[in-house]
Amino acid sequence: MNLKKVLPLKHILLSILSSALLLSVLGLLMQVKTNLYKNVGDIFLNLNMQTATANAVTSVVTFFRGIDTVGEVTVLFLATSGIALMLSDTQRTCEKVVKQESFILNVGSRLLLSVIVLFGVYIIIHGHLSPGGGFQGGVVIATAFLLLFLANPNMSLSHSILTLGESLSGVAYVLVALIGLFKMNILLGNFLPHPIGEIGELVSGGIIPVIYILVGIKVGSEMSVIVEYFSKEDYYKEVCDA
């Protein structure tokens, strides 16, 4: 009985390799549990004195993980362009018909639009003091526009202004990151004066409010474009069929 026929060489090598990999991963996990597990949070919390925000979570998100935000913004941009590519090929030459809409929703959305947008702006500019930040505030603003589109579907946003704001804020974000790199030798370094902040002081934290405002503009405009494409296509199709 030949061992080679029952168990080919390839399988033996593969099993040895995979078990070695598994063992090494297990060893790494054990090491993490003994050495690193208690210290990462403490390191970040001690470094929080340098970044000087009142909110430790914010400093982790914008400084130590600040480079992730660039990736998130890229993902969002790709999603928006994909949706625009898929949904924007309906003919918009058909004549517009004003649909009968609910009176209460119409009035209520007009009343609430300014309030919701104001609340989104509050979330964005208080991002370094309170829970929240650019992404959440941008989504809140987009929700206000969703409400507007639900109330009257034959409304349209100006795409040129949205695209301009989105691209300008993206460019400005990269510029802020690069200025930090040249002045402080760190990407996204905090080059503005930042005394140690306290809760309640709006102007504090150096470049963090700037970053959050830029991210808020970008996310808000992109999400509004997504919402508009999703709620528009149905309307145009119905009108064209009728």
Binding site: Q100, S102, I104, L105, G108, L111, L112
Partner: protein, 107 residues
Amino acid sequence: MLVFLGYILGFLGVALFFISGLGLLRMPDTLTRMQAATKASTLGSLLVILAIACFEPDWTFKLIVLAVFILITNPISSSLLAMTTYKRFYKHIYNTSGADALKGEDK
């Protein structure tokens, strides 16, 4: 004294929540369930928010703004939902009074 008033208001609001939950569970129809649920829970949430304002007088401004938000947003969604449910199920409603304000509405 203010804390005592706060507890009274809070338990009143929670009792209204309980009533709304009970009505939502026991009523036979969608429209009657809506009738039981939305009004009682709106008043209950207002009372609970007032109770917290009694506990902590510093938060009063924020809590009043929150109460105004609830008062604006909640009737919009409830009325839209009631309208849609009526259009869907109005044949099955047992109508004794003969009054039907939404009869002429399209669709």
